[in-house]
Symmetry: D2
Subunit: 498 residues, 4 copies
């Protein structure tokens, strides 16, 4: 059966998918590979915001107590903050600020998270914490201007519902943290946007309690946030894990939860940000590197914007050290890009999204069709992976070319699947080298590009009939433009050799 | 039948193919598009020298007579010469100097060639001409050092056997020009390399007479040069021509002629440079833009080095104005690259050659096989175009992997044919737009890349059996490397989803 | 006597000085040196528009008649137009379009102007001319969008009052040209801005007649334009000229003339653009290279904005060929930059202007004082050159620091004069080499930078007292900022060595 | 008294000063600011090698034990090693390898040094340590080739004579470490260069004992190394220290010690590398940022090459974290450059050295004079700082211009002192801002450049008489070149205005 794509747009395609992207801890942004990757991704995808952990941790070095003439004082040092945010803004991306974790010298305990040892205990002094928050936000406002900083959401802590991230996962103490922090932010400027509680999946009860607390205390809140992942428990092998995955629809269901839960509450109607999402929450699961992953997430990226104001892919780059320094080029990292800018299949899913038009024409379980102001129609298609991916998948579309009844159209197809646009597959074939040689790197860059094909299509009755056969785990982009034929009357292909 | 590629190399692959490349007139090198194209080509191909017309013509502005206190004097101005040669050297390429044409104020007549009006008459003063040559070469030696300039061949004029390029095609006057010019060059430094007569095809009698003249007069000569083209008469259409082409073997026969003719003469054994070659000699023949052209020239580029010391593709870029400013992105120009760096199929033929190893293993009518120091084997294969190209061409090779008896190998294939790596085909499908829009340009850049595929091959008895099916007008590169398998024992593809 | 700079701004500083800058002929913009210079100047000065000759001349190759099946037709080719304007927009500058000169195949005569032979005769067919104008403007609108092109002024021809630029300087024929051209422009889109008559100095009678003609015929007109120069007749030496110069006030008087002349006419109130100005109109007058020139023009650049909507320095770069290829690095060219980006003193005058604030505080015969939104006060000062420059010039200012009663201020001074920031002086000392060596080039770049000094100033009663001694032909920039002292209490300069 | 610089060179100027430079810990090289700084310094100075701590520490992630099927195994991961060394080689600098510190999982104890916690205890397994060393060096040889790696000196540990750097400063255990390590290195390839003991000042007895040990055991050794510093005890203030400094001659004395001590020993004649030197050994002593520092070190950099094979300035950049993240732009760091590439006065000392010729003409207590192959004479002069710097210092030189008896010479002077080329002075005047604003950064970059002046000098009797007045703490470079005068006969400065 051929799907008839309607002539008229049903509205604008949401760009919630590009509102934010995740990153490894704050000071990794000082690295050149990180910035090279971000520059590439901004050129070809173009995210608006970037969010990661560790702004207030010791590696960034903001909180610097010292003793002078017998009294304890604090210097706030923004040496690295300035370098990172200057770099972000030059690259056309702005921070989505996460306030955390605890500077060691302000911490009430020793508990840390990650290889890089972020302290996750409450402050030893709430006054000092508030001062730290105020000093940090005030510095940003002073350096970058309130007009700009007002657009940067500020989130209080990360996944406080997990013991790994917040001592004892104590919600009451988190509520206190929220109150002190949000108030400190608003003291700097009431127009700044603050929110929380940045909970992980599986903590539905937190949000309602949080909403009640905020409402009851009349606290400022500009958005609510949570995370979404679909993987089962980690089955460890050395330097890696394997996990089962719930269907991608489960991700969409997680996206939808906050609005459902807050319906009728005092926080009803607030913007909802999914400040992290991915399949697996592990940075060493090879699934992240595969074509399967792109096909798995395609319906999520194509459709998530109906449910939330943003959903941030965790993370843009494999430059990430939560479980230590990666030991191989492909190591199952979260990144859309590996170290040294090898594009993974999921990178292309985002790059394809960036080529979609802003008018939504159609969306189905295996496709998304848009049009842009110039009349170009763009089709994103994917081979569904659940219940089980077949070796090929057929999609038949009838596509309207606005205002052109007949004549030729130009079609460009870009393919990513088990063989095409798949550097991971090539790396496997190369024998999975831990350290790739320069020539291998060059090869991986080449084979990481989507395979392109092009053809002249026929418009009949204002439509192009498109039959797409997708290979296993394929994500395909087709761009169709009506041709304005400038061929001169004397052109004769048969005379190429006289 | 499967071709058994021998284990042992039969010698080094000559790099005569990359010794030199042609260019439009000298001052076009001041342009950014020109330099962008040359930078790209140097990165991916890497020519040694570059040769074009017009160094001494008015657009470069060297020869500047003036009057002071009643007497006529000459200033030699190297403003543009320095800018161009500085740029060349920064890009890792050195000039192959062609001395010509005649500055208008030193000319004996009005006859010009090309849209840009190069004067092709003998000098009005041989003394002044010699002074101009000396001043120019001395300036180069002074600025760049004799160690460097000694490596830059210096050719006297261009195609003096044609009336268009040398008044009356008068060979005796050319001989005088050669004598005066070669002597002037050697006065600057005896170690400089000078040569000629840079004749076009179809003037076999010139070379013998030239050799006799040089020998008889005891003139300095360090190399001989001629050109090679295979096209028939131009059949004009507006902004274009069509021409018949002789088989590519005819090009090789032309390459071979100088050595044949000079055998036994005083010039026997001198280096021979084919300072221009191409199929058609017209910059408006669309054949230059096609996949046919790459397949047609493949055996020439693969084999020409046996016959001569260099053969220079005419030219690297469509930035070329002999018949005026091009009116469309694809216009049948000589370039390996169009304006704005769209790669043509023939570009890839050169880029593929640049990936060949330096040990020659096998060469046939549809293939060239090499190995490099690391053991990587590279196969260049092409679908023969004469007598008539079929829709597909099969090549079966048995390839030795030095020192590896069994196990996996990694194979990377890069394809260019009527559909793949063929921006011209896409431009045709786009309706042949004269002025391409930015998005079209981006699309053309994308589809101009070869289509890559990769696979894991099996080594058995030290060999990989390779069956290549080539599409119409295809040129293919296959790179094969033995795999050093680093797969850890716990790797299990079946556990990707837990 | 000390000048009391007022506390309150008397208004915004006009930016007419940066609205437009001149350039050599259109296709020179294809050159890399040209684009490198423009990139530098856009980074440090930031002009809005750029205007030069030759868009329609043969070097750009737009007008391309051909014969097909017995009839004469015309192809319009925008190959170079697109490359140039794409480059301009990337560099943040937009064209100020000058329509001229005449394509040779559309010309009614043979008369040309300049070394590059621009044809200056009326069209042989007014219909074909109108078609050429429409096709060109329509192409720009199609490619760049009407929203953008609407902001690009379109000027009809150049200096038609001079026989060199318009056959017989025939005003009636120019009026016809204006009528046909302006109408053709407006046919493309009525919101486009068209104007003229682009007259040279010394043709005051033309403007009134032109205004009458336009009014009487009810023709579209959006701005009027003229040029301004102050040099006397050329006294030739080889490769150069010397000329007397009228005082710079004469330039301001020329700027003021159009508004005076049009007062009460139908064109009263139209924007006035000085589409070219300079001291000498010769591209081989060494005065352009000197510190004198910067000091001479300083009051013009500082004050011209009161009189006109723009005044365009002719030209930004020495990449300019009206009298042929320059024969030396410094050759008296118009450029703010030489070839290879050596900054001339007048470059710094513009770079200093680009650092002025937008609030005008004071302006005098030797100074301009502004403030910006951050409270920074900027002083541009110059040593007057007429009637005769002394060896030093004293300027005493009392400068208000808004909102800061006392404490330190930071002052940065940047100086250009006969010795400082003066590459031409160094080149003279080097023996005036025609072709500079790489090390000399590096030295010239270094000494071309202004000499900077800095100090801590004292604010008393909200003011800083500034005594500036300017050397001969000096232009100085002083930037003063109130200091926010972050020195910690333990700082002790005397303990640097323990 | 005027110093007569001799006509004849007394030999080549040693380039021991540029053989090596110091750096913060290994993985800081991943940062963009670090690489930007190194790129700048390589362009303007050009060091050969770079040496820092931490290659084997956990932040680089090489040593990765894991458990598989019940047994403990080790993976060696070179992810960051490759990224850093690839970057180094691209920037034209090669590692001077320091083997240390101890991976935590291979350590025998908990003791660490620095904010970044390098473990300084002996290995828990000497076998595993040897395996780690072999794997690391073998990887480098495999990736970069033995021809290259053979040129990279390999040093065993850092300052083992200090308890902070080596548990208990136990020399016997260090000897064991040396034996195991040097042997492991040589197992990879006998041509690799290995050395030690990298001792700090004040441990003279170590070197003799080390020499005896190595000789007695017949161990491989290719060079000996030590460090040199001249500061007294740290007098702490918050975020800083003050220290007394011994005269710079004391540094030279320290350089000389190893050769003195080894004279007659088995190690006599081995290359000696001072693998670290500076005034203060503290990264928070503001003396590093001053003009005093450049003048203080000038005689050391000018003369150290007579005493040793290299002496490496510790360090090239303020990107350095041994005592934590710097809290201000200027914070007394070791760097020649601050974060964001502000050049300190000592940077210019090195940049000036890079402009010296290779023939040594004269050296004194306040000057160094060289000539290069082109005849250019270069004078490095400095105002002595001990016993006490005066406000000005006069140096009178008579300088031979080889082969030119009379006529003009071009002189270029570049000055750095308390006011000139001194960004630290400007930063002080700005109120010592911790976090500099973009405009302040731009100003600091501008005022950090040396102040240049130029003049035409007279050659008489083959000599130029040069009187240099140096300001307090000044380092000056003067470059003198004989002028080849190309001034045309018609040039007349008096006719500039006609």
């Amino acid at each position: 059966m051929r799907i008839q794509v309607p002539d008229q747009s049903s509205g604008r395609l949401s760009d919630a998918w590009r509102f934010c992207v995740g990153t490894g801890r704050f000071e990794l942004a000082l690295r050149r590979d990180y910035q090279d990757s971000l520059a590439l991704i901004q050129r070809e995808v173009g995210f608006r915001h970037i969010r990661g952990h560790g702004l207030l941790s010791d590696g960034v070095g903001i909180y610097r107590p010292y003793s002078y003439q017998g009294s304890r004082q604090v210097r706030y040092a923004f040496t690295y903050v300035d370098q990172v945010i200057d770099a972000y803004l030059e690259l056309g991306i702005a921070p989505f600020i996460e306030l955390g974790f605890m500077p060691r010298e302000l911490a009430s305990g020793e508990q840390t998270v990650f290889w890089w040892a972020g302290n996750v205990t409450p402050p030893s002094s709430w006054t000092q914490w508030a001062a730290l928050v105020r000093a940090t936000i005030a510095h940003l406002v002073d350096r970058y201007g309130i007009d700009q900083v007002r657009g940067w959401p500020i989130e209080v802590w990360n996944e406080p519902n997990l013991k790994e991230f917040w001592a004892d996962a104590d919600q009451d103490v988190y509520h206190l943290l929220y109150e002190v922090t949000a108030s400190a932010v608003k003291e700097v400027d009431a127009s700044l946007q603050v929110g929380g509680p940045a909970i992980s999946p599986g903590a539905d009860e937190w949000l309602v309690r949080f909403a009640d607390f905020v409402a009851q205390r009349g606290l400022p809140i500009d958005f609510v946030s949570r995370h979404a992942y679909t993987s089962g428990p980690a089955q460890h092998v050395p330097f890696g894990v394997h996990q089962t995955l719930a269907p991608a629809t489960d991700l969409l269901a997680q996206f939808a939860r906050p609005r459902e839960q807050l319906r009728g509450s005092a926080l009803d109607g607030l913007p909802v940000h999914i400040t992290e999402f991915n399949s697996s929450y592990r940075p060493d699961n090879p699934i992240h590197d595969t074509a399967f992953h792109a096909a798995y997430l395609a319906p999520v990226v194509a459709g998530g914007g109906d449910l939330v104001d943003s959903f941030a892919y965790w993370t843009f780059s494999d430059m990430f050290e939560e479980i230590g320094v990666p030991t191989a080029l492909f190591h199952g990292g979260f990144g859309l890009l590996t170290h040294r800018q090898i594009k993974k299949p999921t990178y292309h899913l985002y790059a394809f999204m960036a080529r979609m038009g802003d008018q939504l024409l159609a969306r189905g379980e295996d496709h998304l069709v848009t049009r842009d102001a110039d009349g170009r129609v763009t089709v994103l298609a994917w081979a569904p992976v659940f219940p089980a991916a077949g070796d090929s998948h057929l999609l038949r579309l009838s596509i309207p070319l606005a205002g052109k009844e007949s004549g030729p159209a130009f079609g460009l197809r870009s393919r990513v699947n088990e063989q095409m646009g798949n550097a991971w597959a090539a790396w496997n074939e190369m024998g999975r080298p831990l350290s790739v040689r320069p020539r291998q790197l060059e090869t991986l860059r080449e084979v990481a590009e989507p395979v392109r094909s092009h053809s002249q299509l026929s418009i009949a009755a204002g439509r192009v009939e498109l039959d797409l056969v997708l290979d296993r785990h394929e994500v395909t982009l087709v761009e169709i433009t009506a041709v304005k034929d400038e061929t001169p009357p004397w052109w004769d292909d048969d005379r190429m050799l006289g």
